[in-house]
């Protein structure tokens, strides 16, 4: 039973990172108004998490990372 692991990994990564991006963006929108230091830090982290989602998505669909180390 030969799975094409790479394909599975890429699809799961792509789909998963879309979900992550959406969740992070929604959470960021909801918490936008909350006061308090820790909430500010949460907002920054959620934003970076969203960026992480985008990066993982692009890596998943082999747009980024194709020329890794080509320099």
């Amino acid at each position: 039973m030969h799975f094409d692991w790479v394909l599975i990994e890429r699809t799961v990564a792509a789909v998963g990172s879309v979900i992550v991006f959406v969740v992070a963006a929604v959470a960021l929108k909801n918490d936008w108004k909350t006061p308090g230091i820790e909430n500010q830090v949460f907002k920054i982290m959620l934003a970076l998490l969203a960026i992480g989602g985008i990066v993982a998505f692009l890596a998943g669909i082999d747009v980024l990372g194709r020329f890794a180390g080509a320099a």
């Binding site: 990172s17 820790e38 949460f42 982290m45 960026i51 992480g52 990066v55 980024l64 180390g69 320099a71």
Partner: protein
């Protein structure tokens, strides 16, 4: 002079001077500064990696195979997923639906462990199949294993930390207003996520 009310302190009734207010702001500020110093620790090693990378020959250096970006993307998605479940755990706790909170916490811990498993798998393939080792493959091995290893260690500590918080919350240590441990756990877990966003990009994608 301005008088401010602090949500989760509790007061004695004998005069302002005898207050016992273990205020949460102190501990929160302390924890955030701890995260700042941890960020500096990672930044130093990231500086070392980038410095070594552009002072030498091309990357990855000759004789060292390219990293498996597909698996790494999958593994990163696992960790980012656990970031989201962590966020929902805190939200559920704030809105007092305890069962959803426990479910999200368990999900976060499981995803964290899965990420560690994935990292372990990647290390074994690198070391055994590609013979890329920590001290055997020049500055690539040095910076890659040191940085991702240190991050893995932080994830492991985070998993243990979250399990302790989960047990404590079930045990009832945290009330609706006094849940600093949980806030700190979430902050730490998001911190570990964010560090991985940076590490994933600088190792696998550039």
């Amino acid at each position: 002079m301005a008088v401010i009310t602090v949500p989760d302190g509790h007061a004695h009734d004998d005069g302002p001077d005898q207050l016992y207010v273990e205020t949460r702001e102190l501990r929160l500020q302390g924890f955030l500064l701890f995260l700042v110093s941890d960020v500096v620790l990672f930044c130093s090693f990231i500086f070392a990696y980038l410095y070594l990378r552009n002072s030498g020959q091309g990357w990855p250096p000759a004789g060292i195979s390219r990293l498996d970006v597909a698996f790494a993307a999958f593994n990163s998605m696992v960790l980012f997923g656990s970031g989201c479940t962590m966020h929902y755990a805190l939200e559920n706790w704030k809105h007092n639906n305890f069962n959803k909170y426990v479910a999200c916490m368990v999900a976060t811990i499981i995803l964290g462990v899965t990420f560690l498993g994935g990292q372990g798998y990647e290390y074994t393939t690198l070391m055994l199949k590609d013979h890329v080792t920590w001290s055997g493959s020049g500055i690539f091995g040095a910076s890659f294993f040191t940085l991702t290893g240190m991050h893995g260690f932080h994830v492991a500590v985070g998993v243990i930390y979250l399990s302790i918080i989960l047990l404590q919350s079930i045990h009832g240590t945290y009330t609706k207003d006094k849940y600093f441990g949980l806030t700190a756990g979430t902050l730490y877990w998001h911190f570990v996520d964010v560090i991985w966003v940076v590490l994933f990009s600088i190792f696998y994608l550039i």
